[in-house]
Symmetry: C2
Subunit: 292 residues, 2 copies
């Protein structure tokens, strides 16, 4: 079974579009997402544009703030403060990666938790860990939504998460271990210091790969019937393509897919779900459902 | 090898006592810990008394606030606010468990993060997850200190944590997976929904048991040479003792210990280290080393 993130996103976004339309008719506030992009990284620009476009398609307001790559940390912090105080903005994101001269942690601690729809502020991370109302980072949340949509059983399953990034791997490992509907997995978190990754993955019912290493997960590393979630998305030069590149996931899809009971494709899997989850968080922010 | 938490605590507390003495001589502020106890649970009273006594022994100031079990949530929140604002108090704890009519999460969110030396506020949890300066909860921190003291190698080791409590199991699993000196383990977090605990523990180099089930971990569940950390401490009636009870850990110590390369006893293992870690956090608070 293919876990179709594109199709699932269309369905979930359609639902949100209807809710926005209803809010409009009732004279309620329309969700408004702002995105801050610093510099001109090709992939970042693509992602931000996709987020803005998705907002428009479902009737959200959106604002794109594009700052030059020379922007200082203080200038960025000031921009964030402006967005914190702008009552018309329900939530905003600062697109990663940021230029090396800017301290990422400082930036995310400046974002008002109530508007932190990417869920990167420590207080949202802590509330997520403690199972309190919180914005959950878009990629892990999108994966949870996809697992729920396809009724993937998680309780009591062995889950291996590959990669301990703050944005995906680590929160994913925490979320899947929680005592919640999509959760209750026995989670093993593997990373660069793990000695025998294959031994872990071979035993796993569910594998989440978030390493950024194209085609890392091979068919001889998984058992038959595994559920595989591919978070990787790497641009590889490909002159045969109009864009000049192709996108590769962290899974050797062609060989792995036949062994899986369910798998996400790249593109069209986790990527669209990340955007959908971000929109969902923005809607929650507008409705003040996380913070009063 | 016995990981002697009592002896290690004496050594670490002696160091802190010298530092306090030096501060005194320089006219600097002496650390001051306050503890709030609600009601009259026997074990809680014992723990709080041990904390207060430890403060006195190393030259900290301490204040014990004992509230009746009928204390309302609002009264407790008001008490916390008083402590938040008292400039003489560097850090304070609210002893668990609290009476059922009080919302624990609300209580810990009321504690000023700068004084939250138990590390239970979501912002300290989030900062711990993000590897930012944070108060780390006393029990997990005490275990890290003990592992460090005995030079237990953790990098690349397979670690199984049994129990996903907010206070011990879950933070322990996160801390041991971090890219830090005592860390870099491949951690599996097991809990009530885990189907085959024994399969996981048999394969583990390091096992942390935090279930509160006396003598749960048996010798046939571990491999030779494992490191076993026993967080459990349950009072069992025992009329042959003067106190009327004995303390049992989560490990069947008598049979498990001979197979281990290192193990913590109960009592005298994790318990004293928890107190030492709390004192350490209070010292950090006094020195404003976590929050400026």
């Amino acid at each position: 079974m293919i876990l179709d993130g594109k199709q699932t996103s269309i369905e979930l976004q359609n639902k949100m579009a209807i809710e926005v339309q209803n809010r409009k008719e009732k004279g309620l506030k329309i969700p408004h997402l702002a995105a801050v992009l610093v510099g001109k990284d090709g992939a970042s620009q693509t992602y931000v544009n996709a987020k803005v476009k998705a907002c428009e398609q479902i009737g959200f307001q959106s604002t794109l703030i594009h700052l030059p790559k020379e922007t200082t940390e203080n200038e960025l912090l000031a921009q964030i403060e402006t967005l914190n105080q702008d009552e018309n903005i329900d939530g905003f994101i600062v697109q990663l990666p940021l230029p090396a001269h800017i301290n990422v942690d400082k930036v995310f601690q400046q974002v008002k938790p109530e508007k932190d729809v990417d869920g990167f502020h420590p207080i949202n991370v802590g509330r997520m860990v403690k199972n309190l109302p919180a914005y959950i980072s878009a990629t892990p949340l999108g994966i949870l939504m996809l697992l729920e949509k396809y009724n993937i059983e998680t309780a009591g399953k062995k889950c291996v998460v590959l990669g301990r990034s703050q944005i995906v791997g680590l929160p994913m490992s925490i979320l899947l271990a929680r005592n919640t509907k999509i959760g209750n997995c026995t989670v093993t978190l593997c990373h660069s210091k793990t000695s025998d990754v294959k031994k872990h993955t071979l035993d796993a019912d569910i594998i989440v790969v978030a390493l950024g290493i194209p085609e890392y997960l091979k068919d001889d590393m998984i058992k038959n019937g595994a559920v595989v979630i591919d978070v990787g998305i790497t641009r590889i030069d490909d002159l045969s393509k109009k864009s000049g590149f192709k996108l590769l996931g962290d899974v050797d899809y062609q060989n792995v897919a036949p062994k899986c009971s369910a798998i996400t494709p790249v593109p069209g899997g986790v990527g669209p779900m990340t955007i959908t989850a971000l929109l969902y968080n923005t809607l929650l922010a507008c409705k003040k459902e996380i913070y009063l």
